[in-house]
């Protein structure tokens, strides 16, 4: 979910302005919480299905978008079974699934650079330009490096398994964080090197 899996296309969903898509996402998520119940979530789900079809997003990619959240949805379902009943548990899970898919259609049909430009333009109306730029760059880096951090985690997990430390969370988390921070340091150097006119961290006159 919310990885950088943009699917190129020329549909009306792809061509819609990124800020309109962000605004609609915000409205849909708010509406789903205000209008609690099966009908609102079902209607939103059907509209989303239509949008996925219009955007010609392959089902495998839609499944891949929600797969990482399945265990969280499962936990929520079980918790709600104990706290309420199966009907309410089903409704809560459906609502979250619809929200995740709504967020996914945004990232699947919008180039990160377009999204970041739109957010930067919007933020620059209320924030100083440098702050707006920094926030939008941070957002794009998050999208780019989710797969990278996941890759580091997998490498560390395999290395620890090979050494017989498969169940040790400390042995898993510590090197992952250390490697991610080391990468972050090198990435910030690379951004500096690639942006001679915005020399963050360099003493430029």
């Amino acid at each position: 979910m919310l990885t950088s899996d943009y699917v190129p296309g020329d549909s009306i969903v792809h061509r819609a302005r990124p800020l309109i898509k962000v605004g609609l996402l915000f409205l849909v998520c708010t509406w789903l919480f205000v209008q609690e119940g099966w009908p609102s979530s079902t209607i939103a789900g059907l509209i989303l299905a239509a949008l996925f079809a219009i955007a010609r997003i392959p089902p495998t990619i839609i499944v891949a978008a929600i797969r990482p959240a399945l265990w969280v949805l499962g936990l929520i379902f079980v918790a709600q079974l104990f706290l309420a009943d199966w009907r309410f548990a089903g409704f809560v899970v459906l609502r979250f699934a619809v929200m995740i898919l709504a967020a996914s259609i945004l990232t699947l049909t919008t180039r990160t650079s377009d999204l970041v430009d739109a957010i930067e333009r919007a933020l620059s109306r209320v924030l100083p330009a440098r702050s707006a730029e920094a926030i939008s760059l941070a957002l794009s880096l998050c999208l780019r490096f989710i797969p990278r951090v996941r890759g580091i985690f997998e490498e560390v997990k395999n290395a620890q398994r090979a050494r017989g430390l498969g169940t040790s969370w400390r042995a898993l988390v510590t090197p992952t964080i250390v490697r991610a921070l080391k990468s972050a340091d090198e990435i910030s150097r690379a951004i500096t090197a690639r942006s001679p006119e915005t020399p963050a961290g360099r003493h430029v006159r």
Binding site: S4, T112, S140, P147, A193, R194, E197, V204
Partner: protein, 226 residues
């Protein structure tokens, strides 16, 4: 031309580079030396990623704390995974040009022209995290080339590549008009340079014809006890 004048770099109690004075004017300059000798620090000084504790580094007369100097020197990092910062290839290649004053269409045209020049247009709409190691290294290099710097510094560009991708990268480097300063352990590549500088323990131990320096370097390493 890049001029280092009495440059020292100290980190804590460790002297990384010790009073280096050198002019870099040849078209292909190699930097060799053992691990921890100060090669990468030397390279990073050249576009202001590192700052000398003493002395000065100037690019065409301008110190590396000025934008006019920084724009002339591009830098390719050893690990392209840390250099590629956008999710899609075309977005990443356009990254450095965001604040260049070029319009979106001009940026797009320049990116496409560079991909076409090196026969890599098929990568244009690929996701960067799905590229192979060799493709990532090429995209990292093209991300620097689109900025059209006069000088490109490459920090161990062939270290993570297999033989085939190494050959592709070396062929690509041969096509470039820019001045190249390459830090590497790849002695075959280093032997083809116009000039080779051998750095050891923060000092220049050899500087001159690439063939002679590679020979002297090999002999020195062979003579060291294991």
């Amino acid at each position: 031309m890049i001029r280092l004048d009495g440059v020292s770099v100290r980190k804590g109690d460790t002297l990384i580079l010790d009073t280096i004075s050198v002019d870099l004017a040849e078209r292909r300059i190699g930097i060799i030396g053992p691990n921890g000798s100060g090669k990468s620090t030397f390279a990073r000084l050249l576009n202001g990623l590192e700052w000398p504790t003493r002395g000065s580094v100037r690019v065409d007369g301008a110190p590396t704390d000025r934008v006019s100097a920084l724009g002339k020197v591009g830098f390719v990092f050893q690990n392209p995974d840390n250099q590629i910062v956008m999710p899609m290839v075309d977005e990443d290649l356009a990254f450095g040009l965001r604040k260049s004053g070029l319009s979106r269409s001009e940026i797009g045209e320049r990116v496409e022209a560079h991909l076409e020049r090196f026969g890599l247009t098929h990568l244009n709409e690929r996701r960067t995290h799905e590229l192979s190691g060799g493709e990532k290294q090429l995209i990292a290099l093209i991300g620097v080339l689109v900025m059209e710097p006069a000088i490109i510094v490459l920090d161990e560009p062939t270290t993570l590549l297999d033989l085939r991708n190494r050959r592709i990268l070396v062929a690509l480097l041969d096509q470039l008009d820019q001045t190249l300063i390459i830090v590497s352990h790849d002695l075959e590549l280093m032997a083809s340079m116009d000039r080779l500088i051998w750095i050891d323990e923060g000092r220049i131990r050899g500087d001159g014809d690439a063939g002679d320096i590679v020979r002297a370097y090999r002999e020195a390493i062979a003579a060291e006890p294991c």
